[in-house]
């Protein structure tokens, strides 16, 4: 894929099916961008968790609300953003799922998994409200042109 900024915007319905759809879309894009199978899987999982978060917590499963996903490339990164139409939240207020007292909680691991699977992860409250999850994965060297590896 060319090392110039490209942007894909997708509007998803607040439906359970959107979780699978978003995952598949990002995995296909990541595959076309030259990521390894393992990274494609991780990115798919991260986006899956992001859309689950938007569906369940951001949009509270309210059918009329939308989930906005964008995928962008710059010179050395693929950036995925997932924006809901909820109230937003502070990452620091989310309980640590690895804390002993939280291990047996049945929810609360999605954000942790997004951070674990991506190279960078952050949460913003969008100007119009809503939580925007920003997930970044560095492009493989062969694609970005970094390092000594030759393009494939």
């Amino acid at each position: 894929m060319a090392a110039k900024t490209q942007r894909i915007e997708i509007t998803l319905e607040t439906l359970l099916e959107s979780v699978d759809l978003a995952e598949v879309i990002v995995m296909r894009i990541a595959e076309a961008a030259g990521f390894s199978e393992e990274d494609i899987h991780k990115m798919g999982m991260a986006v899956r968790e992001g859309v689950i978060n938007a569906y369940n917590y951001g949009n509270q499963q309210i059918r009329d609300k939308k989930i906005f996903m964008t995928v962008e490339f710059d010179a050395d990164k693929m950036i995925v953003r997932v924006l809901d139409q909820g109230k937003g939240f502070e990452l620091t207020e989310v309980p640590d799922p690895l804390a002993e007292e939280n291990l047996l909680r049945t929810s609360g691991r999605g954000l942790f998994l997004m951070r674990a699977f991506m190279d960078e992860f952050n949460v913003h409250t969008a100007p119009g409200g809503g939580a925007e999850l920003v997930m970044v994965k560095k492009l493989p060297d062969a694609v970005s042109g970094n390092g000594s590896r030759q393009p494939e």
């Binding site: 909680r105 999605g110 998994l113």
Partner: protein
């Protein structure tokens, strides 16, 4: 593939051979329903064979935790068998590998019940 489970019994131990994905929606619901049904039928020794489950998301992990707690609350035991690498790694990074009783082969799993 949607999660499917087949139950077999060895003495008083129920082994569920699962295949498919344990994800938000149908997969998680199937897992929840399966464990609930086993408990309702009086089973207290349960093995979840995840040999053919290569995908689980946070909802699926939540259902495993819920199942573990539910079985424990009726003084039963639930064990996980044959984790694939991806499921194993997920349980490892979420620190749940130390919570669940994970067995690598069926014979060991059967012998491990109190």
């Amino acid at each position: 593939m949607a999660l499917q489970g087949t139950c077999r019994e060895i003495e008083d131990i129920a082994i569920i051979d699962f295949s498919g994905k344990i994800t938000l929606g149908e997969g998680s619901s199937t897992l929840r329903r399966t464990i609930r049904d086993l408990i309702d039928k009086g089973h207290r020794k349960i093995v979840l064979n995840l040999y053919d489950v290569d995908y689980i998301d946070s909802s699926g992990i939540g259902e495993l935790v819920s199942g573990y707690t539910t079985v424990r609350n009726v003084e039963g035991e639930m064990k996980l068998l044959h984790l694939t690498k991806r499921v194993h790694d997920l349980l490892q990074i979420t620190r749940l590998f130390t919570v669940f009783d994970v067995q690598s082969d069926e014979e060991s799993a059967l012998k491990s019940f109190r």
